[in-house]
């Protein structure tokens, strides 16, 4: 794998179009190897034709995002889960 990549910080703008919370601070678990880490630490290739984020441990694709003029395609099949930090609520 070449070193011509960015990291998950580069997803903050494109994902910020979609989500109310900052997904780059979420902890993702890779479906390939089970490694867990922040989305900001994924290795990101792109931006054309789309953004492809790979696991820094096993290099499997964790997330893909393609933006068309009228839609955003988000493929998360490489992520077992995303743990998204939320402000604490008291009941």
């Amino acid at each position: 794998m070449s070193i011509d990549y960015l990291d998950g910080n580069a997803l903050a703008g494109p994902l910020g179009e979609l989500f109310a919370v900052d997904v780059t601070a979420a902890i993702g678990t890779c479906a390939g190897c089970g490694a867990a880490g922040p989305v900001a630490a994924l290795q990101v290739y792109g931006p054309e034709p789309g953004l492809v984020a790979r696991c820094p441990s096993c290099e499997e694709v964790v997330l893909r995002l393609v933006r068309t003029p009228d839609a955003a395609w988000l493929d998360l099949r490489g992520a077992v889960s995303l743990r998204i930090p939320m402000p604490e609520t008291r009941s």
């Binding site: 070193i3 011509d4 990549y5 960015l6 990291d7 998950g8 910080n9 580069a10 903050a12 703008g13 910020g16 179009e17 979609l18 989500f19 109310a20 900052d22 780059t24 601070a25 880490g37 922040p38 989305v39 900001a40 630490a41």
Partner: protein, 237 residues
């Protein structure tokens, strides 16, 4: 209004940092504020409708509707030559943000901090140094700043008189000032020793630099989850 709207940003001030880098200060009505370390997307649109965008780190903490970016010229780039050579005070571009909630430093953090910058990777780290000053924070800060040559350092005058509790070390990879003890060369493990491992680290620069620096820190016993990284790609500009 979309969740992350493009806002009109008017250039109000230009400061030369080096022969190839300038700080651009924009005024952005409705700016929601930001944290040190966050970045913005800048969009340029040609008269024929073609548009292109790049991400830039913000160089200074929140200051009303003023947003400062420091942009290094990428000679074959598409956006930076326009921002640095064509755009004049009073001209407008579009900016959206702030984005990124991972590579940030919050002024209420009191933990000691190690900042490791490669080239223009110093920009978001400078925002943290300035945010620390603005907040009157006494969190110990150490900046290790690697550049090719002495005259490529950004913010030289401001960093010449560091704030109390801010320690600065320069590394030169090609050419050093006269009489400089460390020979020119890339960052090594020895450049990062001496600090306690009970610190939060922020590493920003080109991908190869970030990989090397983060690997050295891990080898020195720093916990990977306390090392935050942000990489610049080799292309773009």
């Amino acid at each position: 209004m979309p969740r992350l709207p493009w806002r009109v940003a008017k250039l109000v001030e230009i400061r030369q940092e080096t022969a190839t880098a300038r700080t651009l200060v924009f005024q952005i009505p409705g700016w929601p504020g930001h944290l040190a370390g966050q970045h913005v997307d800048v969009r340029l649109t040609a008269p024929d409708g073609y548009s292109t965008e790049r991400s830039y780190s913000v160089a200074a903490p929140e200051q009303g509707d003023r947003v400062e970016l420091t942009v290094e010229l990428v000679p074959d780039g598409e956006v930076s030559p326009y921002l640095l050579e064509i755009l004049e005070v009073g001209d407008e571009v579009e900016i959206r943000g702030p984005v990124g909630g991972w590579f940030v430093w919050r002024p209420d953090h009191t933990t000691p901090v190690l900042l490791v910058a490669g080239g223009s990777g110093v920009v978001p780290l400078m925002a943290m140094i300035r945010a620390r000053r603005a907040a009157g924070s006494s969190a110990p800060f150490r900046l290790i700043y690697s550049v090719r040559e002495p005259d490529q350092r950004f913010y030289l005058d401001e960093l010449a008189n560091p704030d109390p509790g801010l320690d600065i070390a320069y590394l030169f990879t090609r050419k050093t000032p006269d009489g400089w003890a460390r020979p020119p060369g890339r960052i090594t493990q020895a450049d990062l020793t001496g600090a306690s491992t009970d610190i939060d680290s922020y590493v920003c620069g080109p991908t190869g630099f970030v990989e090397a620096a983060a690997d050295h820190l891990i080898a020195l016993g720093h916990a990977p989850d306390r090392i935050r990284t942000e990489r610049f790609g080799p292309t773009g500009g």
